[in-house]
Symmetry: none
């Protein structure tokens, strides 16, 4: 069943606000089993609101609209709906009473502009607003059942949940099921190639991709004649996707890469100490965003200056002089130093050149040395990461965490 989201407001078309209402409604409608064809946002322009409603009334079975129900002169949605339908506005006494009572509670007089909020297109079904002055309403426009709600996010969310959801739930067959997989290690194009043919092999299944640098999320969506059939098709197709991407899938849905690495350390009862240089604290930040990092993380020494590498981690100045701070030798000494100073089971270090300056022919910007030290000795990795400063830092931090994952789970 198809749905569209319409948001009305010049503050949106001027980009003064990010349109979180549209994202909320799209996610809710998708979860209810609707296919959201389009989200449109128009400014507070009567003719544009009317033309858009007429167009959407031909395109979808459900229209959900927010904004333009307020008391001011630039709130035009209700009038536009009446014009689009060719019906008069009529005052709803119960709504007027509701608005009057809200003002009484606030100890303020109700103005005539607020009384306007009790006007609805003739024949509309009024949607109660328990936490604000503007009631919503529902009408039929073209082939669509259309809902109009205030733009204030908390009023809109409450009204959607209590008033709109019960009215549309029975329309949607809820015939979709989706599984999201999180990957790290391959570019989107290669992930796509590895999954070539999966859509064809599993009818009703579509595969979507989303890049959150440096990760690629893979979404397996199945639609079928029933929810059970959709779930089964989704799970079968997902098993094939997992087989093809086994080396790069690290988790599902809301997992984070640092969270997964932390979980492995916790499960294995291993503590970690980190020595960062070019990543400047990013590895520690990624691990400690997740609750419970104190179970395994003892220390993250961001030894940005060479003197700090010596003072905090005991890195030999001669080694730095001989090989440079960006070298496998120094990375090893940092990881071993972090482990020794903190008493952690595992030491991870990263030293490199994040740029934009500081590179040379020998060690270009993006060069990063990573070391992992532990009972099995010290493992070294060297990479040259592409991108700008923040991308290099991000790729290095991911590679550092991946090195720990590899070390502890051989």
């Amino acid at each position: 069943m198809s749905a569209v989201v319409l948001t009305v407001g010049t503050e949106l078309t001027r980009g003064e606000l990010v349109n979180t209402n549209a994202a909320f409604l799209a996610a809710e409608l998708t979860a209810l089993g609707f296919e959201v064809l389009e989200e449109t946002c128009v400014d507070d322009d009567r003719a544009r609101i009317i033309a858009t409603l007429e167009r959407l009334g031909r395109a979808a079975a459900v229209i959900v609209c927010t904004g333009g129900l307020g008391p001011t002169t630039d709130d035009l949605t209700t009038e536009a709906v009446a014009t689009a339908l060719g019906v008069p506005l009529v005052r709803d006494d119960a709504s007027l009473e509701h608005i009057r009572r809200r003002f009484e509670k606030l100890g303020r007089p109700m103005s005539e502009s607020n009384a306007k909020q009790a006007n609805f297109p003739s024949g509309a079904d009024v949607l109660v607003n328990p936490i604000g002055t503007a009631p919503g309403f529902s009408v039929r426009i073209g082939k669509a059942l259309a809902f109009f709600m205030p733009g204030v996010p908390r009023e809109m969310k409450r009204m959607f949940e209590e008033q709109v959801t019960p009215r549309i739930r029975s329309l949607s067959p809820n015939d979709a099921h989706q599984i999201r997989l999180r990957t790290f290690g391959l570019p989107e194009s290669v992930v796509g190639e590895r999954l070539a043919g999966v859509e064809g092999a599993f009818p009703g299944v579509t595969i979507g991709y989303r890049a959150h640098f440096p990760e690629i999320e893979v979404k397996v969506l199945a639609r079928a004649t029933s929810n059970a059939a959709a779930r089964e098709a989704c799970e079968t197709a997902t098993a094939e996707v997992q087989k093809r991407l086994a080396d790069v899938i690290y988790g599902e849905a809301e997992d984070t890469f640092a969270g997964v690495v932390g979980r492995i350390l916790r499960q294995r009862g291993l503590t970690l100490a980190i020595a960062e240089s070019c990543t400047g604290g990013l590895v520690g930040h990624m691990l400690t965003r997740e609750p419970g990092a104190s179970d395994f993380l003892l220390l993250d020494a961001v030894t940005y200056a060479n003197s700090a590498k010596t003072a905090v981690l005991g890195v030999d100045e001669d080694i730095m002089r001989a090989h440079g701070a960006v070298s496998g030798e120094v990375a090893a000494a940092m990881a071993e130093g972090a482990r020794r100073v903190s008493g952690a089971a595992i030491g991870l270090s990263l030293t490199g050149i994040a740029g934009p300056s500081g590179g040379s022919d020998d060690k270009p910007v993006g060069t990063v040395h990573i070391a992992v030290a532990g009972d099995r000795g010290t493992e070294l990795f060297q990479r040259v990461f592409p991108g700008d400063r923040v991308q290099i830092q991000t790729l290095a931090a991911y590679a550092g965490l991946a090195s720990v994952k590899k070390y502890v789970r051989p």
Copy 2:
């Protein structure tokens, strides 16, 4: 001059992402003097992309579109444009070479699906993408000059600024001028209250707000009969805004709070050492995202475990036992220890409870102690921050940087 924004992607129509690209483009187009009539988002559906482009080509003078230029099978925008125009796709050799070189730099083979990204509707003007594989392009659709860019925000922003802006600037009467101010320290509602009446006092001026947690960006936009008049009105109104928000404005436009604090340290010739606990490396990460942090940052010791506070910073175990790790006494010892170990001019420390667990009646979740140590002695701050774990860490990191700013610039 009218403009519309089109964003393409099923991840958007499913509400999996908030559409920050649309807000960014709407704000930029508004600042360039365009009237943005509509922002539309459609799913990855060829027929819907074509129908929408044809409709928008009748409605506006400029179409700016993002998304659907990637290498995978659900990236359909380029094909849809060619179909809408009734022209074939042709391969652009220079773009193919650009893509091939990017893959060479990454040390990976270029796949056939990436080569697809060098195909453009015949007659298109190619828009270079210096930081990604997908070039953009521009064509005329109906009465509109249309631009197609990748959906990855940083690639899109760079391309809009370098490739699109120069091509559309002359179309707009440019009778608008905008100044953006960055603030930290007050909620949006209070910032709004402080600026009450400014719009009325300066005709043609509108004030917009954008919250990027924990900052509030204030945008002063003036429209007038000429660009010079708009600039003057904007500057006069901005002076009033600056007066009212003097205590919370830290910079303009692209400034970052950490970048501003780093700049002050560099200008004053002061070095910094940090000791973090609950913020887990976030302060270091914020400072080192900006190039040139090595000019002043010597060390960031994320001493997550108490044993690390002692081993790395020399914090007395008795002090921790007596006052707890989350205390002013320990914060002071950490800041002084970081300064002593590294030889830095300024020591900053943060110790607190980021949650969700670990709080008590005495020290609830959100409690953070901050210390700044230097030649003038050690200053202590205590706060209880609201929010979830990441919000508390973010507010604490900002407060830590604010404390350094205050200490060095009395």
